[in-house]
Symmetry: C2
């Protein structure tokens, strides 16, 4: 049974310190000079905190006119056309009215801005910040701050590690579906028969209150759009545009209240799947007409629909290549249908040959997206957005930034991140991803030779695959909540430091005890590095168990068709992606990155094996040989997790007991897994190279 | 849609040549001097052939008295207490009655014998054998000739590669369940959540005619017992003793008619699973009483029940170890309950630590069964049979024979074989297993120093996991029918040669065209060697993809808890199982095998890496180095499959078109897979050793 009052469930919205705030009486009175469903949500959030958290018996008073307010402190929500504000931005200002009444005004250009301002105020109260004389203007960096669900209709989640879907349900028991997901490692796209066997029927989640709580959470971190279903759209989910549109409607009704637009992942072959046409050729007039009518119908039912997302010609999904059309043809056909309603079309660039022959060293999956999309720059409609994964492969613990961010100036681009920890410990391991994402966002692309063109500036928005499921704590690992929180914060403002985000999250979630702050921050801030150390070395990636992607398997992808190799032999390891002797991938970057990566001397250690095949005795910038680096980092990574457990143990009796126990359990699982990684990777390279560890540690 | 008149379906019972037989008129008249359900089946089989195959409009005449028969040729079925016959054996004799009537008499001590004699006669007719003056006595070598289904209630089959169960059905569509099985690679035991999710309900197969055809097939090769459900008995199947006993009853009613006893795999923890007791301690009186009552109940419903099979304390199954009892305690408790009804208890010796640490070289899974059971010799009841897999590990393409066969003189032993090709190509590859089984049966154990104690003589019976499912051709690969046929023949008589069995099967199934005979025999007889060549070398085994066990993955089991390693490094490969420096496994054998395996000089090449860790440059008896042997065999194995395809292509337009097309499709799949094996294994060892192929062939 899920306890919705628990620390596990309430995340960063528990507001448990507000009852001690000097400003809590402000919450009693709210002046609202504008009216909308979203403003209602903002007011209800204030009221909820006042009533539930502050344990007040008085109902919150709401005024429509300043004159009605006498001798009290209050909160004012109002529209503000101030030039300092952009859409969704807000201003929080402390004012003395008539020389005695104190007022905190929250103002914005639009309803979303006011709602975000309310959450910001509550966070300030929770963090015990001084409000007298405060004047904050906070604008989001990007218009599109999106969350992407890989949820299937039957309630399973592709790469879901925190229980079954919060949005969809099959007629089957949720707990069984969670067990099934655990058993098949959250893989559903490659299990069509299983999904068919389960797909008797499905419906919207029965716990719509939880959907509402989820929307509140997302709204509180500034998310303004959610793609509600898996990017791999099979027959069952194709009906979300059709006989099952009510499900979308139910979800979007809730999301709308919190300023979140609902988007749908669609099946490019829908006209065929829904048995209306025998083609989905994007240049066929019947196909265009079909989509126009379909979109018209959908907007009639869901006027606030955000648009569509498409994965086409990728990993078995249909696409324009079937009809010898290009991706601009495919995307524009859908963009055109959506344009009249203000909808947008998100088109994923995750297109590559997933049936590669490992014997063929000339093909390079890393090059695929650039090769496919760069020639099409300038051909996409204004409401089409190309969504590009942070790296050229697939959410490894370390990849270079995709070269597509440094090009395609005439095309709208979105950055795609993965909050769900597919390759970073699957929410069994703590791995705080904010520092990685910060690195991505701050990477200079040198587009057009401009040294101010980092990834954050090159994209119109961010979309991330979420890590949420029906587990009581939402994210499986309690500490993984910090990744969701931090994603929202970064999508809003990529300048906040990883450390500041960690501090905010810890305060809002676990309170402000200094030991808690110190130890949890230490764990979070060192977790990405630790994970990198005990897993695959020097940017080579993969080495995971195929399919479910949990745990080590050095050769797991070495002889597979997926284009993901390490090419280790008795002499050396790494992929030669240079222009002279390798696949030429480094040539996709702008200078000076191109030369930096291409040149063995200047290539950063952490990406060495991504770009170069070197001998085990090659000396890194650290002065260590590659083989010794492998041994050392693997021993170190394991030891860091031992230290995490020690630090966590110090929190016993200081933090919520269930949180303590849950995290401890997962840290112990992580320790075991880190030991497996350490010993398997070290043993593999020791057996392969025959080179002893300088320090004589135990390798098997 | 399944065509029950097709070549695919009819297997070796198509009798398509009988219509050209000189003796077909014998079939018109049958004299039956004894009466039983089984004799009825024998008569009906003769009648079926006469009516359907010989296209006769006349119904077959059945007489009860020789005096009624005048001026005709006929078949006589009668009991015979001749000392030359043992139970189930039969005599076929051609006689001239009254100087003019010709009669073929089929006689036996029991009903089963007469039934087997009828099938034998039909096979003689089909093979166009001369019958004048014939007198054959054919006795089975063993009393227990068993088939083991790994079918689950929901219709999935553990390690099933030919469609869903022919015995059980879930309420779900059979085709979907087949797709599910293909998708998860026939693995169900390690998928309890999936199975739970599917287990809404299940029932006996709706196509009981097919169950009847299946029973005919088994009976025609002398099988007299079938364990109908998976050895891994989960909650759902525990109810086969209880609320779902009707399913067992339905199946056994059909099997009974064909002289086949029905056995059940049972759950050792059934008293707990069925919520009657809180223990299944075999020495607890309440537990004994529970089983006594349960067995009493079952025999009341199914008086002809054969008994139980148990997998205990193995791979997660419960067993006596839970209560600190030994396996004799567990087995005898059940044996005692079954004894009053003539039931037997089959207890599997597949007991080992499946959570081994790969780092620990001192544990050896190969030793486990001997260590566990040998000390218990003499303690088992007379109706308890220990079932021992042919090798000490798990049905690899090459293993030494289990040392348990050479010991435990005071215990009933059964040999366990695997017809379903879990590790030998999963019925996508042709792999005729009869030569392997012949080797096993003919292996001398030197028990008590006796040089006449081969495995065949050391066991009371054989049990084999069947390769049958709902596919039209029963076995997925059409040529895999030969393994089922041959298993029955070998269980009856281990002296028949592999070649003779192949010839019989080809004639009965594909007719007697000499090109068909030559080419198919060539394919069958070379297929095991080919499979061994392109897969794992020199007896080391494994190197398969974990879980589903299809296709190469050299390191797939190298760092796993399953106890199945190769220990390859840059210098050498193999497991040291010697007594001096290794795990001591070789010491479990009787002399002179013990020394033969233990000594590097005398150890046969094909088992070298099973017993010894050697350098790649070690020279084999063939004069080749180990590494060159690896390269050569892998190239050769692939080339043999190319030749198979060539030979098969020569049969186009000579054999049934569907058979031709189906087998060709699978041969092409096999060729692709053999290429993968060749290149992955060669590449792995080339990268690891750094040693070039002497012949300079392409290694990646």
């Amino acid at each position: 049974m899920i306890d919705k009052k628990s620390k596990l469930y309430s995340c960063w919205l528990s507001y448990s310190n507000i009852k001690n705030s000097n400003y809590k009486e402000y919450l009693e009175n709210v002046l609202v000079s504008c009216k909308s469903e979203i403003i209602d949500s903002a007011v209800s959030e204030l009221g909820r905190v006042f009533k539930e958290i502050c344990d007040s018996k008085k109902t919150q008073a709401i005024y429509e006119n300043e004159k009605d307010i006498k001798d009290i402190s209050y909160i004012k929500l109002e529209k503000n056309q101030d030039e300092s504000l952009v859409n969704d931005g807000y201003k929080i200002k402390h004012e003395i009215i008539n020389g005695k009444n104190e007022c905190i005004s929250i103002s914005a250009k639009n309803d979303n801005g006011i709602l975000y301002g309310v959450f910001a105020l509550l966070h300030l109260l929770e963090q015990n910040k001084q409000l007298e004389g405060i004047e904050i203007v906070d604008n989001p960096e990007k218009d599109l701050r999106l969350i992407n669900h890989w949820d299937n209709g039957d309630g399973t989640i592709e790469r879901g590690f925190a229980g079954a879907s919060v949005l969809f349900e099959s007629c089957r028991n949720k707990d069984i579906m969670k067990e099934v997901m655990d058993e098949i490692g959250g893989i559903t796209a490659t299990r069509p028969a299983l999904r068919k066997a389960f797909n008797d029927d499905y419906k919207v989640a029965s716990d719509l209150d939880r959907v509402n709580d989820y929307a509140r959470m997302l709204s509180s971190i500034g998310i303004n759009g959610v793609i509600i279903n898996n990017t791999n759209v099979h027959e069952a989910e194709t009906h979300l545009m059709d006989s099952k549109i009510d499900i979308v409607k139910n979800i979007s009704d809730i999301f709308d209240k919190w300023g979140i637009k609902t988007y749908l992942s669609i099946n490019f072959a829908a006209p065929i799947t829904l048995k209306d046409l025998d083609t989905s050729d994007p240049l066929d007039e019947r196909v265009k007409e079909w989509w126009n009518k379909k979109v018209q119908y959908m907007y009639k039912v869901i006027p606030n629909l955000g648009g569509f997302m498409v994965k086409a010609d990728s990993e078995g999904r249909p696409g324009p290549f079937t009809y010898e059309r290009d991706h601009a043809d495919g995307a524009n056909m859908l963009g055109e249908a959506l344009a009249p309603y203000g909808g947008i079309l998100i088109w994923r660039c995750f297109v590559y040959n997933c049936k590669q022959d490992w014997r063929d060293h000339s093909i390079d999956r890393a090059k695929a997206a650039y090769d496919c999309f760069n020639p099409l720059d300038g051909q996409f409609l204004d409401n089409v957005y190309l969504q590009i994964k942070n790296g050229p492969l697939d959410f490894q613990v370390r990849e270079p930034v995709s070269p597509l961010f440094g090009t395609m100036d005439k095309t709208n681009k979105l950055l795609e991140l993965q909050i769900t920890q597919e390759y970073t410990g699957q929410q069994k391991h703590v791995c705080y991803l904010i520092p990685m994402w910060k690195e991505v966002l701050n990477t200079q692309t040198y587009a057009n030779g401009n040294i101010e063109s980092n990834v954050a500036k090159r994209v119109s928005g961010i979309n991330a695959i979420v890590n949420v499921g029906n587990d009581e704590n939402w994210t499986g690992h309690f500490l993984a909540q910090a990744n969701l929180y931090g994603y929202g914060r970064l999508a809003w403002n990529s300048d906040i430091t990883s450390e500041a985000i960690a501090e905010e999250w810890i305060t809002l979630t676990l309170g402000n005890n200094p030991v808690v702050m110190k130890n949890v921050k230490d764990i979070l801030m060192n977790s990405w590095e630790a994970y990198e150390k005990y897993t695959s070395p020097l940017g080579i990636g993969w080495m995971v168990s195929p399919g479910h992607h949990y745990g080590p398997d050095v050769d797991g992808y070495e002889f597979s068709p997926w284009g993901t190799y390490h090419r280790a032999d008795c002499k050396g390891v790494g992929i030669d992606r240079t222009m002279e002797t390798g696949t030429g991938y480094s040539g996709q970057y702008n200078e000076p990155i191109k030369s930096k990566y291409n040149d063995l001397e200047s290539c950063p250690d952490e990406l060495l094996l991504f770009f170069h095949h070197v001998q085990y005795t090659h000396v890194l910038k650290t002065g260590k040989t590659v083989i010794q680096h492998i041994y050392d980092t693997h021993f170190e990574g394991f030891e860091i997790i031992e230290k995490f457990i020690h630090k966590w143990n110090e929190l016993k009796d200081i933090i919520d007991e269930k949180v303590y126990e849950q995290v401890l359990e997962r840290l112990n699982i992580q320790l075991d897994s880190a030991r497996d990684w350490r010993d398997q990777v070290n043993t593999y390279f020791y057996r392969m190279s025959g080179i002893q560890d300088e320090k004589g540690r135990k390798i098997y």
